[in-house]
Amino acid sequence: MSVGVRIGCGAGFAGDRIEPAVDLVERGELDTLVLECLGERTVSLAALRAGDGSGPGYDPLLRRRLLPLLEPLARHGTRLVTNAGAADPVGAARMVRELARAEGLSPRIAAVTGDDVLDRIDRSAPAWEDGLPLESHGELVSAHAYLGAETLLPALRGGADIVIAGRAADPSLFLAPLSERLGWDPDDEELAASGTLVGHLLECAGQVSGGYFADPGVKDVPDLANLGFPIAEVDGDGSAVITKLPGTGGRVDGMTVAEQLTYEVTDPAAYLTPDVSLDMRGVELSRAGADRVRVAGARGRPRPDRLKVSVGYRAGFRGEGEISYAGPGAAARARLAGEVVRERLGDRVRTRVDVLGDATEVSGECRLRVAGTGPDRAGAEAVEEEVTALYTCGPAGGGGARTRSTEVIGILSTTVGRDLVEPGITHVGEETR
């Protein structure tokens, strides 16, 4: 059996905390740090930003995230794998090169490309969500295929210190460095399943180590404000121990790992990634010490023939507004205010009205919340205007109105044949070596 590999996850979504990743690199003795920063919609919004020049096509937080990380990564010889390239991995790689240069560092940086398939999807193909043709939903603005571990492997085998992908499947960000270090055969489905399971458990970072878990008095989590992010110690046979750094907040035990094991799983017998179909029905969790859980028993079956694609489309505009009422009759006044807004908006927008809070008939405070969506910006702005007008034209005592409106980018799913996707690697920064 080969010597184990330590891999950590320093971000589980675009808005995650920054400093836990630094702690992981400084004290975790990691082989690889993964930063998972891409939701289904994130890459679509990034493509729009890049398209209209309003911002970078990569994760706008990436610079802030890497500023405190690059020097520790270099000092510890830890590799970085991330999907924060979003819609522009090459642009992200160039930005990181400049950032590194400013610190006197010259890492080998590789950008993974080929996930953008907007020009090659079948626009008349049915969306998974409702069976209707993709193009019938509105203008399609982005389409990104979920790339697998094999697309990252050439960069890792080539000795890249930093690998920046866009839309790669989250578990593939972990499977690729594990496969490379442990010498796994990419066609070995059991090992691909094991590495995918590790990735699935780690991809949401703190969600396996005590985040998204605390329920005071029932499921208590120590020092949640200083939640430690997770590390997996992975053996050559694919079994792993999930743990976190000593001295950090959070907890890693059978309960936290079981919650993450089952998170966003639509079929435990066939968790599909570009790399493998993972069967988690035989997965066993066992305690391996304080904040240590051993995970084993993943089974693999052949990977899907086609790749999943996330398609972004213009889904109209949404306006939202909220206003508070308090004291006797608060809920009745909030409901009246909601009726007023509904009547004023008519059928310009599809509207939802909620009265939130714990007001009773005689005391307490509640908050009216109105949301409306429609094809044009003016309709969304009308929601804002009508809620704001409640100040003087609505029921007694409304306060604290807040409104906002935004264009809505909807997400649909489809698949594309593997032969239509041409993954590539762009090396950035070699000239500085």
Binding site: W128, V218, G254, Q260, Y263, V265, L285, R350, A371
Partner: protein, 123 residues
């Protein structure tokens, strides 16, 4: 005798495309059979009707004593287009835990659950 699902299980909600998932995990292995009996489509729909469309699928993960509930969302209620405050549906797990479920007398007695069970049912 009824108890809140919250007293014998913990849960986590997630979303994938037009599907919502809620995993419900027995706090102790002995409660797992109780969960399997209790989480009927009618009972789940009773708690989550506002966000559920179509049938409920229940997957078993016996090794960790978990049930994975999967159901479709309305085509107007996707993560990006939803008008709900909680666009993802992340609060659905906690909503479901507020469901009262029947606790077989032998299961309750076994765990010394009677006092807490009566507290729950009087809420």
């Amino acid at each position: 005798m009824n108890v809140l699902l919250h007293e014998i299980a913990h849960a986590r909600a997630g979303d994938k495309g037009n599907l919502n998932t809620v995993s419900v995990i027995a706090r102790e292995p002995r409660w797992y059979p109780v969960l399997r009996e209790a989480l009927t489509p009618d009972r789940v729909r009773g708690a989550l009707a506002d966000r559920m469309r179509g049938p409920l699928t229940v997957h078993r993960l016996d090794t960790v004593h978990a049930l994975v509930l999967v159901f479709a969302r309305s085509s107007e209620d996707t993560v990006t287009t939803s008008l709900h405050v909680d666009t993802h549906g992340k609060t659905l797990a906690s909503l479901l835990l507020g469901t009262e479920i029947p606790l077989p007398p032998e299961a309750g007695a076994q765990a010394g659950f009677w006092s807490r069970a009566s507290t729950a049912s009087s809420r």
